[in-house]
Every structure is written in C-alpha cells, then in structure tokens.
Symmetry: C2
Subunit: 175 residues, 2 copies
C-alpha cells in the first residue's frame, strides 16, 4: 500500500501542510470540535550546535523544548504531534508563562498576547518512524507527513515547530 | 430557499471566514489551481470621518482604496470579492508599489516583503446586495457571506479588508 514513493495528498492534508495561519483554528473548523493541547514534554534545555544554528542563537543558550499533541476534547487519539523549540531570551514574560505553564495552543497564545509575526515554512517531508505510529495508534508501515516552520517575530525565530501526522489522517474534509 | 434567518454554513465556508492565514493560499489549495487578482478599483482617497476612526488616522488623511476579485486563472467567475483600505502613511515604499501597481494578493506581498503582522477579525455578516449578485453571477435572492478584518502591524491597522462571497459558494471541499 505504501511501497510507492509517490503519494497523492488530499486537499485537506495540503492545507494543513501549507497554511500560514493557526493550525488550531484550522483543526477546530475541520473537526467541528474544540481542540485541546496535551503536553508530553516541557523542559528547558541548552542549545546544541545544530539547534543553535537553526535558531540563530549561541550554543549553550537556553531553549524551551515542548512536545504536545493536539486532539479533540472528546477523543484520546491525537490529530497532530508537535515539537517546538523556543529561545528563552526571546520570550516576553507573559508568553513564557503561557508556553511553559499551561496547555494553550501557540496560535492562541500569540493571538491573546497580540504578537505580530510571520510564518516561514522550511520543509515538508515524508518520514518513517515507528514511534509516531505508536503515538497515533496506526500500523508501523504508515508513513508520516511532517512540516517544519519558523514563527518569526522582530526578525528573529521566536519558535521553530515540527508538526507531524499520519498519511492516513485527514483524507477527507468531512472525516 | 433563503427565507429562513438561520443558515448552516459548510466547514469550508467557516474556514474561509475564520482563517487567520492567507486567503489566497487557502483558495489555491481548495481549488487546486493558481489564484489571480483582478483589480476593479484602485485609487487614493481622503479618509472620511467613519473610515478615519476605524483605521485610527485623521480625517482627510490619504488612504489607498482597492477593490479586487480573487479568481482562478482559467475562470472568469470570482471566488472572493475583496475591498481594502490602507493608510498611505503606514505603507513601506516597496509595499506601496506592489499594492498600487500590480495585481498581487496582499498575503503574497506581505510574505515577500517579510512583514510581521497579526489578523483581527472584527465581524462576520450575512448581507443582501444585488450588486454582489451581479459580480458573482448568482440570483438576486442569494445572500452573501462577508467578513471584516484588520491586518495589524506595528500596533496599527495596516490594512482593513472586507471579503465577500455568495452563500452558494464553497459548499463542498471538492467543489
């Protein structure tokens, strides 16, 4: 089923991968239900060489590393798995509080805190990783769609986000 | 058919009315075709009392008034009708050139010029207006869906936009 290297994505999958708006708003309209954030990991780490370069900070600088799933309130199964990296020094105090202490979607934090930004999509990939299969409760051979983008504010990367979902999700608009 | 005062909007209509991302990107994915801008009106006008208040400028200040339709390149029928008001004094030189001289969607101008912003939806309405019926080539009794939002940059309204489309458009995702 997934042996071919070419995949025809659904319009809905393309929309999720290409949107430059809030992914939470998009998911709430698509599913016609509120979307909630479940935080899996939330910690302050020191930037290694690779992530420092991507975020344009110094190696060893503090970054907030957050892993969440977005899901409908009445459903355990995740819609989207999202990892994010945020240089601590670039966070406003109130934003930092929301991001680190509460299960609030990033788009909503930015909206409430009236943060001006732009989103720059860096790459869209198909990946194979059994850990994701377990998180989404799909077969091991199901490929994952992933996009990496930066939310840029004051000409600096405020947040780097990697969003992932199975190729078998969002096939139809009314799913 | 449209006599009832309650309307059940399609998910796609809700998405177009609620998105805080680029409407052009959204339309391009939905229609799976490039979207082009046709400029109907483009002029510099003096702000009257009402629009000055909405844009938080002085009465008599210069604003750029632009009316466009967004449509697929191979189709004469508009997807969306959009009016916009922009205080001239708040435009960067390059942005002004793009906005006034060329048929480029606002979202694409902002992306290319790397302008940071946020979008604030002010209202969503159902309106009845025969002029729109003619533009969209639909019957006079078809109601129109309309949303008004501000693109805010540097804490000021950069562009105020009113987007309109018929209640009979975007009923299905694959339309």
């Amino acid at each position: 089923m997934f042996s071919d290297l070419q995949y025809e994505l659904s319009k809905l999958q393309k929309l999720i991968l290409l949107t430059d708006g809030s992914i939470t708003t998009l998911l709430e309209v698509i599913t016609a239900k509120p979307v909630t954030v479940s935080t899996l990991v939330q910690k302050i780490v020191k930037a290694d060489n690779e992530i420092a370069e991507l975020l344009e900070i110094e190696e060893g600088d503090s970054i907030n590393y957050r892993v969440v799933t977005l899901r409908n309130v009445d459903c355990a199964k995740p819609l989207i798995y999202a990892e994010s990296y945020t240089p601590i020094s670039r966070l406003l105090k109130e934003f930092k509080y929301d991001l680190m202490k509460a299960d609030i979607p990033i788009g909503k934090i930015m909206q409430e805190r009236k943060i001006e930004s732009r989103r720059e999509i860096e790459k869209i990939e198909i990946i194979f990783n059994d850990e994701y299969s377990e998180i989404f409760d799909v077969s091991y051979h199901v490929p994952m769609l992933s996009r990496t983008y930066n939310i840029i504010s004051n000409n600096m990367v405020l947040i780097r986000i990697i969003e992932t979902f199975p190729l078998t999700s969002f096939l139809r608009f009314n799913a």
